[in-house]
Symmetry: C2
Subunit: 489 residues, 2 copies
Amino acid sequence: MTAYDDLMAFQRETEALAQVAGRLGWDQETVMPRGAGPQRAEEHAAMAGILHARRTDPRIGDWLAASVPADAVAERQLALIRRDFDRAARVPARLASEIARTTSTAHGIWAEARAREDVASFLPILERVLQLRREEADCLRGEGSRYDAMLNDYEDGASAARMGEMFDGLRPRLVALRDAIRQAGPAPALEGTFPEEGQLKLSTELAKAFGYDMTRGRIDRAVHPFSSGSGLDVRITTRSDPLDPFNCFYSTIHEVGHAAYEQGIDETHLLTPLGQGVSMGVHESQSRIYENQLGRSRAFTGWLYGRMIETFGDLGLDGPDAFFAAVNRVGEGHIRTESDEVQYNLHVLLRFDLERALFADDLRVGDLEAAWNDRFAADFGYPVDRPSHGLLQDVHWSEGLFGYFPTYTLGNVYAGCLHAALRADLPDLDAALARGDTAPATGWLREKVQRHGGLRPPRETIVHATGAAPSEGPLLDYLEAKFGAIYGL
Amino acid sequence: MTAYDDLMAFQRETEALAQVAGRLGWDQETVMPRGAGPQRAEEHAAMAGILHARRTDPRIGDWLAASVPADAVAERQLALIRRDFDRAARVPARLASEIARTTSTAHGIWAEARAREDVASFLPILERVLQLRREEADCLRGEGSRYDAMLNDYEDGASAARMGEMFDGLRPRLVALRDAIRQAGPAPALEGTFPEEGQLKLSTELAKAFGYDMTRGRIDRAVHPFSSGSGLDVRITTRSDPLDPFNCFYSTIHEVGHAAYEQGIDETHLLTPLGQGVSMGVHESQSRIYENQLGRSRAFTGWLYGRMIETFGDLGLDGPDAFFAAVNRVGEGHIRTESDEVQYNLHVLLRFDLERALFADDLRVGDLEAAWNDRFAADFGYPVDRPSHGLLQDVHWSEGLFGYFPTYTLGNVYAGCLHAALRADLPDLDAALARGDTAPATGWLREKVQRHGGLRPPRETIVHATGAAPSEGPLLDYLEAKFGAIYGL
């Protein structure tokens, strides 16, 4: 056994334990009895303590120093282990464990507060979560800002400054597009009631149509849909609302995008640092291209239109073009995850700026709801009507996931780049999508992106797949063309 | 912080991790995607390695030496920690991890073999499991036999010799009772088809009727029903067969007995060594008294008879006495878990003797199926018709649980003792049971047995509850009276 072999064997056990810890989160969101919360918080904390101890084990430093990589893959494995080792060594075990315990508790309080529309009951624990994350950021930041330290957790090499520039490039054309759409008047809307059983059945059919492997996954229901796990056990969740079947379908397709990335990674990388998606941004590029550029395309919605009529009967819409317009309707909504492609990034911008302000001490938690509501009214043109449509809508902050939101927009930008390259390589794609056949597109993504897992850093992953440096241009071009056609702009 | 406080804090984290590891088993049996097996084996092994490392942490020895117990409870906590520490220190980490990995694999192979009625495909891995357990027993045995070492894992202080004596006391009267029943001719049987949806609904109603707290538990389906977890998250599973609703109902009540023990323990003992059932034998006394002495009593079956008619319509039985006889029918069956109260212990005796022979080198794995089938034909009077009705019927050996079976009969003996004491204390019990009200009985058991968890050693637990030393007499008296009445002996 060489030092490298020892290191990789140790790492493999750590990855297996991380899968166990992750599945504990899945369990909590899907099947956990509601009275189990206090015990579960201790279980989470104990697992976090174990993982932290392993990730800071001094032997890793020795093994890293003594390892001689045999090839580029081994070199990349070592780089990823070194990055995590350096990061983990900076955060005291006490703090890591306290964060796990507090966010587990905060999660339950958030869910209660959201159900009761009661912001005040959530703020004290949010304040505590924020304080702990700031403490953590101080351990990690080095020369950068606290918020940069948070961002880097999800996107290696990202900075708030570069994010800000990208959003500057997006904002004017998005706002102009949104204004033009508003002036064009409303698109057709889907109305009526759609039995949840039928929704969930069709949702499973969609998951399979997009290549989700049910022998290595499963679909359950959760308040906030998510994908969980890597390797041979990658589970997704969805939700249903009798009045809004698109929410169910596109939540599912979105999570299938995430899951397909994890399921698509070459099995040689199983339970190694390369055996999972390389970053949140690249992950989101997969979920968004599945959901939007493929799932909400005119071609695919034509097929879905037929399946919906077979499932639910007449939809009261004037043919597949009207259905396509209804799927992509730009309306007045408050919920990020239900937002159309045009306004979605405005949601992300709002959270990004509030997070930056919180971390820069420009905003206090006590003023957060007012800041959210003011900004929302200014950006969207209508007010927040209740906390579950505003500050309490997302699970992220209760889990301490500051710096996570901007990766959603980064993912959209990457999805735009990938989509342009994919269309160039697959001129007949629409014919397949019109038959409900996503295999050419998902096969391209698997080959170009998914199978490589963490082999290349995030930005290089996109460069490798598209042959060009990522920019916001392709996303904007795509949005203007698509919504220009729908709204006759 | 005193040494005792440090020890208990460390122990609490270990207990939390053990809950996580246990829930991994629940997940595997209920919701795990079938392709996840190889990865799951690594996850199990990693968790087992972590737990083993904690249980053998040298600091435990130091803390134990420096701890001064403040009271009898603290003294008992220390005794239980010391026992596990001494045990774990004897088993090398490599062996513990290898056992976890091998039994996880063996479990899948067993399930496949059972489905395909293919003993040969199971024997090589069973041989390996047995070999590993024998290796483990050699680490543990000290002056005792290998098999005693196995027994003591489930029942502190048990020995094969004492077990053998107890079975000697049981066997003649059980065989005589069984012969008399056979000569009396068959009892009425339930016939027909019972929709599984209705079974599962009534099964949940039964679980609640027996006091199962669904806010701290849940019911799922599994091939082999089990109860899993301690404290605030205690889950049970059941199964259903359209032709055999009693299997579903009494599996559920049985597992509720186990779960009620875990749920009933005083919350001050949460995540401490006292916070779980003290032994397999005492655990089984709870599941069996719920299932048999209460659930299969004339009084309770009278209530169940009404609920079944309301659920399924006419049962084709001539009133509640015939229903009572059908519930308790002594028939020709092969499956231990479906066996009546009279023949059940013969099943256990068979396994006990085969296990002893395997551990004493008097029997080879290659000869195990023949030995099983010969013994079965001799004891039961009819042959094993297929492997899933014989050697492959139980999950236990695939999981390496040698020495576990005899605790079932020990549990029956304890249940007999508890039932006699409970009846003496609650003369009006039958009136409540006839209304489907188990609260007087389950309240008595909670107060006398369950709430104390691991406070007293197994045998002392029964002595404390009943005021007398346990013996097989009360069980035999109960069986002879009950089945004498049903069969008119």
